[in-house]
């Protein structure tokens, strides 16, 4: 049904995001499900889903840089911190409204991200990775030493935002905020990919020499990718900070950078939907493993220590298995499942 009888008669039709009625209905169903979820889930789960949404925003940001433009960054942890601290300083210290602080957090992170993107003109691959690692170290150093501004190692306390009289301090309220921002992020990124800028990013990733001949200024687009990517990471950082209501240096360690890289690798490089799948997977994996360990420890209490150590091992093993067996990530697996059912029951 979907494939036949779908003729596009104008270029505008050919370019539509939701070209078919089916696609439109699907988008509406997905959005309604996301909005209705808190009605069925416990507050604990709503909290977890909020974390998934926040991580998705950050993962989409990183994927714009790494998946689309081919520039690796292992400084995401620190950039989350820049977003979180900017919002903390603006709201808690300066008393500015969250709604003003949030976009500023994004913009400040974008500027700092763009700055640390400058070495990407000269450095590629592993060398660039090390340069972004330097960003991670420098930023965390500044955050933990600039006591007057950041509260040093003690960190800072934040509060949840309000809309007029209505407070978003409940998990459900905050969930809706994060989900709406995620939807906007998805919309932006989807459009970006099919725009002039998105094509230039892909060109920089795939063939930088040919890209130059197309008239693409490599330096400009690489720095731009760092800035756009960092904007979303900064927004995610601010959202996370107001969710946990605390910022402190150890929340933004190198470990966090690795988790975000894992999200886009497991989800699928360059895929927006994959970024979300990866973010959900990496956010929920420890939760799933913990409950599994609790069950196992209930059966064999003596082995609790062993099982706990096992958690990190499983986390690492999952990443390696994905890299080896499904380089396309969860997004690719999803596509295969869809393909299977499209032809079902004649799927041979």
């Amino acid at each position: 049904m979907r494939e036949c009888g779908n003729y596009k008669t104008t270029y505008r039709d050919d370019m539509k995001l939701f070209g078919t009625t089916g696609a439109k209905i699907k988008a509406i169903i997905i959005i309604l499900t996301i909005l209705a979820l808190p009605l069925f889930a416990s507050s604990y789960w709503v909290g977890l889903l909020t974390l998934c949404a926040i991580a998705s925003v950050g993962a989409i940001g990183l994927n714009i840089l790494t998946g689309l433009t081919g520039q690796i960054s292992i400084g995401v942890g620190a950039f989350l911190g820049v977003g979180g601290y900017t919002s903390a300083i603006l709201t808690s210290t300066a008393g500015i409204s969250f709604w003003v602080a949030l976009p500023i957090a994004g913009i400040v992170t974008a500027l700092i991200g763009g700055l640390f993107g400058i070495p990407s003109l000269r450095l590629k691959g592993l060398y660039l990775a090390i340069a972004t690692l330097a960003a991670q170290v420098i930023i965390l150093f500044v955050i933990s030493r600039w006591d007057g501004l950041t509260g040093g190692t003690a960190g800072m306390v934040l509060s949840r935002p309000t809309i007029g009289q209505f407070s978003l301090s409940s998990n459900t309220g905050y969930y809706y905020l994060c989900v709406i921002i995620l939807l906007l992020t998805v919309l932006y990124a989807t459009n970006l990919i099919r725009s002039r800028t998105g094509r230039a990013f892909l060109a920089v990733r795939d063939r930088d020499i040919a890209a130059q001949i197309m008239g693409i200024n490599l330096f400009k687009y690489k720095v731009m990718a760092f800035a756009i990517s960092s904007f979303f990471v900064g927004i995610a950082g601010a959202l996370l900070a107001h969710y946990t209501m605390i910022v402190s240096p150890e929340l933004y360690s190198f470990h966090v950078s690795i988790e975000y890289l894992a999200m886009i690798l497991i989800g699928g490089l360059g895929s927006i939907f994959g970024s979300i799948l990866g973010a959900v997977f990496i956010t929920l994996l420890p939760v799933g493993l913990s409950s599994l360990i609790d069950v196992m420890a209930g059966i064999m209490p003596d082995l609790y220590q062993l099982f706990s150590a096992f958690k990190d091992f499983v986390f690492g093993a999952v990443i390696i298995l994905f890299l080896i067996f499904e380089p396309g990530g969860l997004a690719h697996i999803w596509l295969n499942i869809k393909k299977y059912f499209r032809l079902w029951p004649f799927s041979y």
Binding site: M15, S195, T197, R199, A210, I213, G215
Partner: protein, 257 residues
């Protein structure tokens, strides 16, 4: 009409290898100009100097009277100089359409903000340029494959898309590095017709690198011959065929007429 491109004493060195040795010639506006020579003669290196990928060790390159030798490659594209690569350099994961749209990158304006919102200006711009791209698609007879990822196309078609991407710029000067290499004679004839049409209908100045001398002699207004980085001949096809240095360089090559 006057020269569109003037190459003067251009030299290029890689370690001990003199890829180009004091090469001079000029290309008239509106002509088909061919650059020939044995393998490793420096033809591709010459194009790389014109498009700015290589920095010559000396000399001058003037485009419409303007010195461009120190200009960045992406700025030369803005001047209307397009290039099709010898080793296909298409974006394999992208559709034919997107590859051609990338060819128009410098002519489009939308930035990261309007592009991400995709409303109004940015989407109108996409449509306006889609029309231009469709003209190239029609010209090169690529209608059936416009949505196909380029990487899945057969070699001959990829070569054609490579030329199409350069044409999409709407260039004044197009540099074609062996656009017919590896093609059978039917495909070569078709490409030759496209090149003639570019020249006659679109009034583009064509610089062609090609090993099939029959085709070169037929198509070209002027020819420059390189051998070991040196210019050993420059003139009309008739002059080139009589040039003793050229004949000597090509001894043993049956293709030479």
């Amino acid at each position: 009409m006057g020269p569109i491109l003037e190459i003067e004493n251009v030299s290029l060195q890689f370690g001990g290898v003199k890829a180009l040795d004091n090469v001079s010639y000029h290309i008239e506006k509106g002509e088909i100009f061919s650059l020939i020579g044995p393998n490793g003669a420096g033809k591709t290196s010459m194009l790389n100097c014109i498009s700015g990928l290589y920095q010559p060790t000396g000399g001058s390159i003037r485009y419409k009277g303007q010195e461009i030798i120190n200009m960045k490659p992406y700025n030369r594209t803005t001047l209307g100089i397009a290039r099709a690569f010898q080793n296909i350099a298409l974006f394999a994961h992208m559709s034919v359409l997107d590859n051609l749209k990338l060819g128009r990158h410098t002519l489009m304006k939308s930035g990261a903000l309007s592009g991400g919102l995709y409303i109004g200006k940015s989407s109108n711009e996409e449509i306006e340029h889609r029309k231009k791209v469709e003209e190239v698609i029609e010209f090169l007879e690529l209608q059936d494959i416009r949505h196909t990822p380029v990487g899945t196309l057969p070699y001959g078609l990829q070569k054609r898309v490579e030329v199409g991407r350069a044409l999409a710029l709407g260039p004044e000067l197009i540099l074609l590095d062996e656009p017919m290499a590896g093609m059978n004679s039917t495909e070569k004839d078709l490409m030759a017709r496209f090149i003639l049409d570019m020249h006659e209908v679109m009034e583009i100045t064509v610089v062609l690198i090609e090993h099939d001398l029959g085709i070169v002699m037929n198509l070209s207004d002027h020819i420059a011959v390189l051998d070991f980085g040196k210019r050993i001949g420059f003139g009309t096809p008739e002059e080139i065929q009589k040039n003793p240095d050229v004949i000597k360089a090509y001894i043993g090559e049956e293709t030479f007429i």
